[in-house]
Symmetry: C2
Subunit: 632 residues, 2 copies
């Protein structure tokens, strides 16, 4: 199925996210709408011609483990080579390390295109990007100089190694060990031993080296999350002459057989296992995972920053990765939506505006009301989430570069609250969207060759990895709400409220209806936040019980905020054109207003239902014992 | 993953559905709770020991087409043999044809167990059951005597052949031809030629013969749905000595490669194709599909009832099949829920009642609030839908056997309205439930070996086949609402209201809250129905645009009706035991009240949101042109 990058809407959403304000930040002076459009046009072309055509074949073929090495699907290597040659990998990174120095806002708009065109492919640069962020923020100058140029160019890729069989959402249970050592060849380093699972692109044949970022415990580390350190563990180490050809003691033990993203290799990695005695070869001179290691066994790894602060450093990566996964969920939804709309425009079935009785011409199903409903639902959610996630991206730029301390603090507040919302809500809604896209196809949707089923399978991981929706929701009610008594949350709500109030002044019935709905939703959100702060004080079990509906209430309200602004801007543009929002003026703006109105008619009503759930369900959840769930 | 039939809740739900009233119908005198329980115990044993263990292996292996014949997955043939030997296939059918003569209510409770244990397997008897219903209702005495005994026993299986590549939801486009003919061997018959797709169990190796029920057009048939006739087309015809060994001209052209239910063969069937000249052999003396057929080419088929009334006859099958698919969706959800609850009880991760900060003992995740929320959501929906679908099943029995004309008419009213609701709502909610069940597993849910992903894939067909949710919704607002100006719908609402009001009299705060919520929801439902009747008169496009949220409003309200009754009955049982609904009394009833309260706290709030969508979204959908959905 073809894919067309929604360039105009991406540019529109970036402008809505205050691209102009981002372009006033130091170093981003070139980030004009014109530059953005030309970058997106080029990205869209590359995505349509190179990445999108490999999406279905990659799913069919998958990545394979052959003789201990991972082989990517046909065409993958060539596509990655072109991706790197085009300079796409380094878009938002420091020019000092070879990056393009574009704002995170622009890079996020481009990233949506990669995710939509080929989610399994795009995970490789997504993980590399996270590794870059961690090394940039916490690595030594030498680590930065050694690893960043090749990671930024894409010559090497990166991974995140957190999970172990017994340590999933709960990283306090990490067992991988890191023993300090020194050799003339490798200087001060650690020997890493243990097993990591769920490692995305943990091995592959796209790059000459893979830089693993690994959480592990040093010998004297305290228990729990306060005893975890972060290590750089390259697949290949430098040899005597500085060429990165010496195999480190990392084995790819297996690849997971997954529901989706078959072309993205999800590896079980063994560090310092059978073949990993001294980090220098394939000999069986090491112990096995369970045994004690000598000082010289284990994979060679380099400590990042200080010992025992690994989890904090990992969060540097994770917050960006969480935002990126939200964008990914929305990108996959866009792809599925395009496929559904294309199918509906072609598939002739039934008669015009007919409930089944016959008569009238046979029409494509895109003219049937329930099909239009399903397409509109997808469209309004995707556009709202696009606008919201790009707004968050713009605030990432402000949080990094804004010289004004107050504005910077505002941006950080917003990021704190909205990062878990984007991750949790955009992926959950993304799953609903791809299911609707499949449904539009009727019986054909269930047939794998159609392609709709792949999106349904691929998308299902997005509410899980980088922290499940439950983990995001706990973050939102815990660290982001009750921890400071609701202060930061109240500031973000006030900021959104002020903007909505300003927009609602328009002498326009449609906008007024939306602004009224926003006022009501923000009242509900503020009341819910306050009730959860109070509940936490009374019974610590309660906020977590309704954290997920609270996250959804945030999502539906924040999306409304963006759709109100989108409608107001569109109305103004139409007025400037002399159009009236009826049949006159630029169709893009008329469609945007139509979509925003639908959002408020069909999505926003959830807000009051969610508020009611938040108000009523918590004690029933908290009081449910495990025996309630036994089969009667 | 093991499966335990929820026998006690099935018996409870049957009694809630007025098993006693069904047992007063002629011929059902033996249908006591004791009999039901023993039948369900036996079914549960067979499901757990024979069917459930084949579910995952069947998915892995799938059904295959080998040399023109379909081979089912390993173990399938033996399981089917045992299923038939146990008399399970004929449970609800006329003892005159070898059936057990049990009420549809009891057979539905048993069917949930088959669907839960092994959805792909259970589709074979489900389709046979539909074929039996059509032949029983519309076949000649000779057709009944010929086909029913072997279909009822399960010695033969049945299929439904509706869909063609150009005729999916719109059967007016059916092209398969049926030309009248007579021969000494086969008597009066038709020669059928054409291609049918999506034929569940269209070929397989479980039975000696397959009886296809096929929609086709006779030469002089009028166009559209009024020119479709129904034919019995057996895979094997009787030879000279009456043995059913003579191959009919039906070819299995291919099997679909599907998202789920891999072990259920979905066939493309060619009737009277290359190998189907005279219905008697494998010679290539026929034409191909596109060409004109001679009088003697085509598969031999026997007209059911009158010409051109085939679609009406097919609806006899379809209404039962639609109800059955709703039950199936809920059965698969039960299986997925059991797996999720089992996983959550075993998987240790995180600390007791802790939001991530450490401290406290490590606990199974079933003690974490968000996991409990996900399990409770599944549990309350499954139990509510079980109670509702069994209530509909009881009304199927009343509609057939109730001697009192008024009571019979009431039962038919309820069936008319609630059949599309069960099909549409139980399957849509079923998809949400299996997704939640997968989510409970975290990363393991995305790994195929865990098994949660299979339910997610399998379940996705249920809102599609036997009429998509959109088709159900159009039926609900069209034939079931606007066609009679809302009269039947109002009668059903009044019946539900009266029952809720009677229950709400209890001197019990919990019950009163539920009864109040039901009153509000029924008001919203009645108002929505009236508004759609009025809208239909003003603009025929409008009701279809919000038919789906209207169906959901029906679903959430009707489920509430059943949960209110479940809670009231449970409260009465506890009072009888001397328990107080606190820690005293039978845990089953305490859990039921807890679950019902959660249903009203967490699910019922949707009602007002849906009513708001129904009231606001229709014009925005109706006015959306196809250009709105083009990529900007």
């Amino acid at each position: 199925m073809p894919y067309t990058a929604p360039v105009r809407d991406l540019v529109f959403a970036c402008e809505l996210a205050d691209l102009a304000g981002v372009a006033r930040l130091p170093g981003f002076e070139d980030a004009t709408p014109e530059l953005l459009r030309s970058v997106l046009d080029e990205a869209g072309k590359f995505a349509a011609e190179v990445l999108a055509p490999l999406n279905h074949s990659g799913d069919r073929r998958g990545a394979r483990l052959e003789g201990g090495r991972v082989v990517t699907a046909d065409g993958w290597r060539d596509a990655y080579r072109q991706f790197v040659a085009g300079g796409w990998n380094g878009l938002p990174f420091d020019p000092a390390f070879g990056g393009q120095g574009l704002p995170w806002l622009a890079a996020t708009a481009v990233a949506e295109i990669w995710h939509a065109a080929n989610m399994a492919f795009s995970l490789c640069p997504l993980l590399t990007q996270s590794a870059i962020a961690a090394i940039e923020a916490h690595g030594t100058p030498r680590q930065r100089d050694t690893f960043l140029p090749k990671l930024v160019s894409g010559e090497w890729s990166g991974t995140m190694n957190l999970t172990e069989p017994q340590a999933g959402s709960d990283l306090s249970a990490v067992r991988t060990r890191a023993v300090p050592a020194t050799t003339s060849a490798d200087g001060d380093h650690h020997r890493i031993s243990g097993q990591k699972i769920f490692i995305t692109y943990g091995d592959h044949d796209l790059t000459d080296n893979i830089i693993h970022l690994v959480l592990a415990r040093t010998p004297d580390a305290p228990p729990g999350v306060k005893g975890i350190s972060l290590f750089i563990v390259p697949k290949f180490l430098p040899d005597n002459r500085g060429a990165w050809t010496r195999r480190n003691a990392i084995e790819t033990l297996s690849l997971e057989h997954k529901l989706g993203i078959h072309a993205s290799p999800t590896a079980v990695l063994g560090y310092g296992g059978k073949s990993g005695g001294d980090g220098g070869g394939d000999g069986e001179n090491g112990g096995d995972d369970g045994g004690e290691k000598s000082e010289n066994s284990g994979a060679i790894g380099y400590l990042v920053g200080e010992e025992n602060r690994g989890l904090m450093y990992m969060f540097t990566m994770m917050n960006l990765a969480r935002h990126a996964v939200g964008v990914e969920g929305n990108g996959v939804a866009e792809r599925a939506y395009q496929q559904a709309a294309g199918f509906a425009a072609e598939r002739v079935q039934g008669r015009a505006d007919d409930n089944g009785g016959g008569g009238g011409e046979r029409v494509p199903i895109i003219r049937h009301p329930d099909v239009k409903r399903m397409l509109l639902a997808q469209k309004c959610r995707i556009e709202a989430l696009r606008a919201l996630s790009l707004t968050v991206a713009a605030n990432i730029d402000h949080a990094r570069r804004q010289p004004d301390a107050e504005a910077k603090a505002r941006a950080r507040d917003l990021l704190e609250v909205l990062t878990p919302v984007i991750k949790g809500y955009a992926t959950e809604v993304g799953v609903e969207n791809v299911s609707l896209a499949l449904q539009v196809h009727g019986g054909m949707g269930f047939i794998e060759e159609t392609g709709a089923a792949q999106h349904y399978r691929d998308q299902r991981i997005t509410p899980i990895y980088e922290g499940t929706t439950g983990i995001q929701a706990m973050d939102l009610v815990g660290r982001k709400l009750t921890a400071d008594g609701g202060a930061a949350t109240a500031r973000v709500i006030a900021r959104i409220r002020a903007e909505c109030e300003a927009l609602g002044d328009a002498d326009d019935q449609d906008i007024t209806v939306m602004a009224d709905a926003m006022r009501a939703a923000l009242d509900l959100l503020q009341a819910a936040a306050e009730s959860l702060v109070a509940a936490a004080a009374a019974d610590a079990r309660l906020p977590g019980a309704v954290a997920e509906p609270y996250l959804r209430l945030w999502g539906v309200t924040a999306c409304g905020w963006r759709m109100l602004k989108a409608a107001a801007v569109s109305r103004a543009e139409l007025a400037r054109d002399g159009g009236d929002g009826g049949d006159g003026g630029d169709a893009f703006y008329r469609h945007k207003i139509h979509t925003a109105k639908f959002y408020f008619a069909a999505e926003m009503p959830q807000a009051s239902a969610l508020a009611e759930v938040i108000g009523r369900a918590a004690p029933l959840i908290a009081d449910a014992g495990a025996d309630l769930f036994e089969v009667a």
